[in-house]
Symmetry: C2
Subunit: 193 residues, 2 copies
Amino acid sequence: MPRLWSQTIATHRDAVREAVLDATAALVAEHGLTGVTMSQIAKDVGIGRATLYKYFPDVEAILRAWHERQIDEHLTQLLQIRDQTESAARRLEAVLAAYAEATSHHGRHDGDLAGMLHSGEHVAAAHKRLREFVQELVVDAAAAGAVRQDVPADELTLYCLHALAAAMDLHDPAALGRLIQTILTGLRPSDLA
Amino acid sequence: MPRLWSQTIATHRDAVREAVLDATAALVAEHGLTGVTMSQIAKDVGIGRATLYKYFPDVEAILRAWHERQIDEHLTQLLQIRDQTESAARRLEAVLAAYAEATSHHGRHDGDLAGMLHSGEHVAAAHKRLREFVQELVVDAAAAGAVRQDVPADELTLYCLHALAAAMDLHDPAALGRLIQTILTGLRPSDLA
């Protein structure tokens, strides 16, 4: 097989895979996790069911791939926000705000399927990366004098990430803003707080 | 059946039930949720397996009853702490500290069984009661000027309870103390913070 042809096939496969995940994202947004079926995805992508099964063995595999892509997109977005923001204190605030926003949209998935998605290794690895990422921001902000130094950075990171989970129960942007301000108040050094 | 006799039976049944839950608590503490079996409980309580089955149909039912008792004991303990503490600000701090302590000991249960226990209605009801209980303390402390008033009490309560969940990952009492202080700093009015 000439190289170009195999590349064409690979590109095509990637495009179909992405289209499947896009259709899945739209179905989850409209009907929730349980509203996703093989037939509906095949229909929305415009391919036959038999073709879809060549890409994914079942709905669970599709949801898992969709969820992994979601997580990767969120982490990439947080990295971009960090790199676009100037001071250490503002970087921390901007990243926490973006994470709260994503958590709020994420909401609580329905039952068993959500448990299945969240029990994956990918989620555990992403959580570890997120924790390390936020901890770096906390360390930098502490070095810049914007975060308290009487509590170790790893404990402050746990505090931030757990407190941010409150965003799941908040859907009003103003409430999210108040949550971030409350969390940041907790982080501040006592002489600045 | 004379009244006294039926009372004696009821008291006996309660005593056996409590002994079963005590044995379960000891087994969970030593071997985790998955280390609890009908045979071992019967042996530890000193009753036959057939008798045990007259009280509980299976291990799942026993674990559920044990978990409900645990939750009720924790809530009762929090109420006692509230009633023994003088000022509104100290009451909030003492209750949050006790809750963090309980959460830290609780730790993360192992997998599926924990999911089963936590999905129960009893847990949802207890969580609602806890939220209402903490919110009252937040409202009182805000009225006393010890908690910020620029964020609604229900949002501050969500913040507290989520941030307190960080205690699950902390096992050192000093770290728990720092978590509570960080959370309380977040709650403080800006002119006092």
